[in-house]
Each structure stands twice: as structure tokens, then as C-alpha cells.
Symmetry: C2
Subunit: 354 residues, 2 copies
């Protein structure tokens, strides 16, 4: 049974599974060690981006993310019979690549703040921010060189490098598709789901696949984790899209309708565009033809989504992927505790509020 | 004796050594194969950047570069006893990384044209151009996966990956330093030379080191090629800097004084700033305090450089690095033909006009 709690109104709410705290200390140490070099000021920008330093290089404790990807990687390795240490270089690499993509995404989207702090380009300018992201990508590659020190065989290390490169390229292809779809609101549900399976899904899948690969020689089990990860990526992103429209400002930091207002292609919009009829369809097309949507437009779009059941459909789709994720692991021998933690994890991603 | 010819005025001139045509066909095939995927439109931007397609994806024959880095890589492998085929995946990777850096450089510098064509960002916009560069970097990594197909052992393939990652990170650090030095004209000769050894030198060195490593088991010889490459990188960049100030427009595509006009930090400027005295020094400082230098300023800066012998000093420094480069290979057993080709190559980089 998934770990949930009741809030004051008696509704089930999502609590971050303890799993997300299990590797925190070791992961933080390993990440910091990977970026400890002081021979070039580009590392100042990287320690800033990771939330460890201010723009002058002084230590700070800024809000950081959930470290979802490295947690998945370390957990998969452990749960299938390996040790977290063995997968640590891969976990570090995937977290650095995720942060690299945030640095470049913020330039592309001209976002000036992230987690309440100015973005790297907002502090150092676009040219340096481009280079900063590229440096983080390179440090990720260097992290993988430590796999062999952790007892991973050279052929297995080469395989992990290939897995990460594959996922990285898929992420980049997904980012390109996402940019290609910008200002288009007729992309269709299948094309949209393919895009997110690349842009967001590839790294999540790869986190689990690399972790499992480093934890067992049973390639069938590794493939099961790959399929688990692929489905989990959909759960993560579809829930993210739901929060982007209906998330509570106090939890997500964004007002209701935020992704509608900025005309972001997300599952709810793609669903509404594909399912609205008659005057609803005409209204949506008209609203999205505008340069920017105002409060009234946003309210109208939300009403259309309400009428055609967009939110429920989105959550149902996330639920189906969550079921697929858990089904993918059915043939894998896991301890009851591991099984419960996996269910908690999947359920958390399905119902999380932030 | 280096291969040179006499121009109509009777002066020695630099002729592109035949070496640069030796691998053209195979290299072009391998590069095109690496970018033949059609599943995502990002590859259109990459084939455009490589000069093989127009912005609509139609085949064209645009001017391409000399392919210096892959040529060095394949040549080093052959000359030391290997085959060019064996080093081809590494040669492809290094050429793709070079082109990746050009795509991102053009964004950073806001350069709208390169080799007479609009740059990637000028055609597709900055966000897509950032992603396009990142994709090229990933395709380079994937190219290295083919080393094993060419008979390279798995440990050796892993070593080549590490060599390329090291050089890549150095290049990125050099790019960051270069941006950091922008608008500063007091960086000093040593800091400047360190920056170019990273920004330009690392890939040139790595081309030769990877090629040699793939061609011989003699690690002393590999190290000799590494040192050869390090010195050759200085020859290349210092000569490039000379051409950026005194190159002939018909050959370089830039007017005389181009790098002075745009206040680019290059060796001649660093030299002049460090060696000019009295009124010359005051004039330089004043000219470089301006937002942009006009014709009169450029002429004055050129006069100062003439008085303090900047051009001769720069060429003499390039010559010393050329001598160091050739000295690095002295202990390596090479055929007389190989020796002559290496001398021709080094001499060409020392005296080239474009």
C-alpha cells in the first residue's frame, strides 16, 4: 500500500517517501567532490547553479531539487542486489546532466529565476551561461571515469557510458522537438507524448536502467527496470503538466493556470485542443492566437478543460502509466520492502503536489 | 625542407600540404554517416552547420574548413604504424566537437555569418542553436562507440573517451577564460597563452594524442605526439592571431586590423599592451577604453605595434613553438617521408595566409 497521509480536510496527500533522504549525504558529498576544482572560474557558476554558493562563491544553502534521478539510480542498484557506492558515479553524472539542461533551458526560455534565485545567465550573461552548461556536461562525463574505481568492469563502464549518451541524445532531441512545437498548438497527443518521453523520460529511464545494470548481471531484470523507468517518466511529466495548470501556488510556486498563461505546450492543452468541439474549440483557437492570454482567457480555457474532463483524463493517463510501470517489474524478484518502496515511489510521483 | 612555392612577387608562400587531401573522401563519408539520422529535425541544423545542406535540407556544397583536427588524428595514427580506419571514429568525434564549438561560439559572439553563410542561430534562433550544438556534442560521443568495431580493445576505447573528455573540458575552460578576459586588456602574455592552450590547443593536442594512441602501443611515442600537439596548438593560434591583424582580406575574408577593430584579445594586442611605453601606452589605453575603435584608432594601434615589433615578436614566438613541436618528435622512429610531411605540416601552420 502506498504511503500517504491525511491532511486536515481528510484528503489523501502525497508525502515525499523516505527513500528521497536515504542517499542525501553521500550523494551531496560525491556531487560536491565532482565540482571542487578551483582552477577556472567556470566552477563558481556551477557551484552556484547547484545551490551551494552565491554568485561571489560564498557558501550558501539554497533550495535544491528532490534529486529524483540520482535517487532512482542508487535505489535501483541497491534494490536489485548492488551497493549504492557502485552506482554513485552514474548517479552524479545524471544529476549533473539534469542541472546542465536546466542552465541551458533557462537561457532558451529567458527565465530569470529558478527556485527563487537568479538563473546562471541572469547573473553571468548568456555567453558564459552557455559555456557553464557545457562544462557541467563535461564534468558528468568525467564522473563516469570513476566507475572503474568502484569495481565496475571496463566493459560494463563502457556500457554505462553508452546508456548515458543514448539518453542524453534523446533528451536533446526532445528539447529540439519541444522548441519546434512552440507556438504550435496542434501537435496532437501522440506527438506530445513522444516528445516528453524523450525530453524528460529519457533521463528518468536511464537513471533506473544504469542503476539496475550496475546492480545485477540479470539483463532481463535490467530491461524490466528500463521499462519501469520509461513508464515512470510519463507519470512524472504528466503529473508535472497537471501541476502546471492546477497546482497550488503555495506548493508549486506558480499560480493556477500558469502553463496556460504562458502558452506552454503541455498535456492538458494538447488534450483540450484535441477534444474540444464547436464553440469551445473556436474559443481555444482564438485564445491561443493571441500573443498573451489574460485572466479572462485563462479562466475560459480552464472552463473548457473542466467541461471535457481534461484533468481527470490526464490523471487517468498518468495512472495507466503508473500501472504499466509496476507491471514491468512483476517478473523481477524483489524483497517485500523493496516492492513497497517502489509502489510508494510510483504513487508519490502520481499524486505529488509539488 | 618545408614545401613552399614562390608567388608572383618571388616571396615564399604557404601551400596546403597534400596531407590535407589524403583522408578527405573517407572522412567525409564517415562524418556524413554519423549525421545521417532523419528522425528529428535537429539533424537538419547539423547538416547545415557542416556545410552539406541548405536551411531547407537540400544538398549544397558550401565551403568547409580544412578539417585540420581529424586530419592530424588520422595522420598521427598512420604515421606511427596504425591505419586511418582505426582512428576514424576518433577523427569524426573531434571534428564534430570542433563544429559544436563553432555553433555555440557564434551565438556567444553574435556572429551572423560564417564562411559566407548565415550561422545556425541566425537561421533557427538562439534556443534551437544551443540545442543543435548540444546534439552535435552527443553525436561525437556516439561516434567513439564505433572504435570497438574498428578493432580497438575495450580498455583502449575507454582511454580514448577519457582523452577526448579531458580535452573537451579544457576547451570549455579556455572558452570561459576567453569570455572572462573580454573587455579586459591587461591580461598579460602568460595568462593569454594559457587561455589559448586550453581553448584552441586542447583539441589540436588531443587529435594527435588520440591518433598516436590508436596507432601504437609505445606510450613514450604517444607522449611525444602529445607534446608535439601542444606546441603545434600554439603555432596554429599565434599564426591565427597574426592573420587576424595583418592577414590579407582576400585570403582571410577580414580587413587588415579586423581583430583590433573588434577589440578581440589576441596575441598582438596582449603583446602591445605589455610592451608599449610612454605616449604609445597611453594611446593604446585610450583607444581600448572606447566602445568601438574607428579607422584612425586602428591605424594608430598598428603604428604602435610596428614600432615595438609586435608582428615579428609574434611570428618569432610561433617559430619557437614550431621548433619545440618538431623537437618533441625527435626520439620517435618515423620514416623519412613521414618526417618530411610532419615538417611540411608544422611549417604550413607557421606561415599560412588563411
Amino acid at each position: 500500500m502506498a504511503r500517504t497521509a491525511l491532511d486536515v480536510s481528510g484528503k489523501k496527500m502525497a508525502v515525499l517517501p523516505p527513500l528521497f533522504r536515504r542517499y542525501g549525504a553521500e550523494l551531496s558529498c560525491a556531487l560536491r567532490a565532482s565540482l571542487s576544482y578551483d582552477g577556472c572560474r567556470v566552477y563558481d557558476t556551477l557551484r552556484y547553479a547547484m545551490g551551494w554558493a552565491d554568485s561571489d562563491g560564498n557558501p550558501v544553502t539554497a533550495a535544491t531539487g528532490k534529486a529524483l534521478r540520482p535517487t532512482l539510480c542508487l535505489f535501483a542498484c541497491e534494490v536489485i542486489g548492488g551497493t549504492a557506492d557502485r552506482a554513485m558515479p552514474a548517479a552524479v553524472a545524471i544529476e549533473l546532466i539534469h542541472n546542465f539542461s536546466l542552465i541551458h533551458d533557462d537561457i532558451q526560455d529567458h527565465d530569470k529565476t529558478r527556485r527563487g534565485r537568479p538563473t546562471v545567465w541572469a547573473v553571468w550573461g548568456e555567453p558564459k551561461a552557455i559555456v557553464s552548461g557545457n562544462a557541467l556536461r563535461a564534468v558528468a562525463d568525467i564522473s563516469l571515469e570513476r566507475l572503474v574505481e568502484q569495481g565496475v568492469s571496463i566493459p560494463d563502464a563502457l556500457r554505462v557510458i553508452a546508456l548515458l549518451t543514448e539518453a542524453y541524445l534523446q533528451m536533446i532531441e526532445g528539447q529540439y522537438l519541444d522548441l519546434d512545437y512552440e507556438k504550435r498548438h496542434d501537435v496532437g497527443q501522440d506527438a506530445y507524448l513522444n516528445m516528453i518521453s524523450l525530453k524528460t523520460g529519457a533521463l528518468i529511464r536511464c537513471s533506473l536502467e544504469m542503476g539496475a545494470f550496475l546492480g545485477t548481471k540479470d539483463l532481463g531484470a535490467v530491461d524490466a527496470f528500463r521499462r519501469f523507468g520509461r513508464s515512470l517518466g510519463f507519470v512524472f511529466q504528466i503529473r508535472d503538466d497537471i501541476l502546471g495548470v492546477w497546482g497550488k501556488e503555495g506548493k508549486t510556486g506558480k499560480p493556477v493556470g500558469a502553463d496556460i498563461r504562458r502558452k506552454k505546450n503541455s498535456f492538458p492543452v494538447v488534450h483540450a485542443m484535441g477534444h474540444a468541439n464547436g464553440t469551445d474549440a473556436a474559443m481555444l483557437r482564438e485564445a491561443y492566437r493571441k500573443e498573451a492570454l489574460d485572466d479572462h482567457d485563462v479562466a475560459q480555457v480552464l472552463e473548457v478543460m473542466e467541461r471535457i474532463g481534461t484533468r481527470d483524463q490526464a490523471q487517468a493517463l498518468a495512472q495507466r502509466h503508473c500501472d504499466d510501470a509496476l507491471a514491468a517489474l512483476e517478473g523481477v524478484a524483489l524483497s517485500p520492502q523493496a516492492q513497497e518502496e517502489i509502489e510508494d515511489l510510483a504513487h508519490f510521483l502520481l499524486v505529488r503536489e509539488h
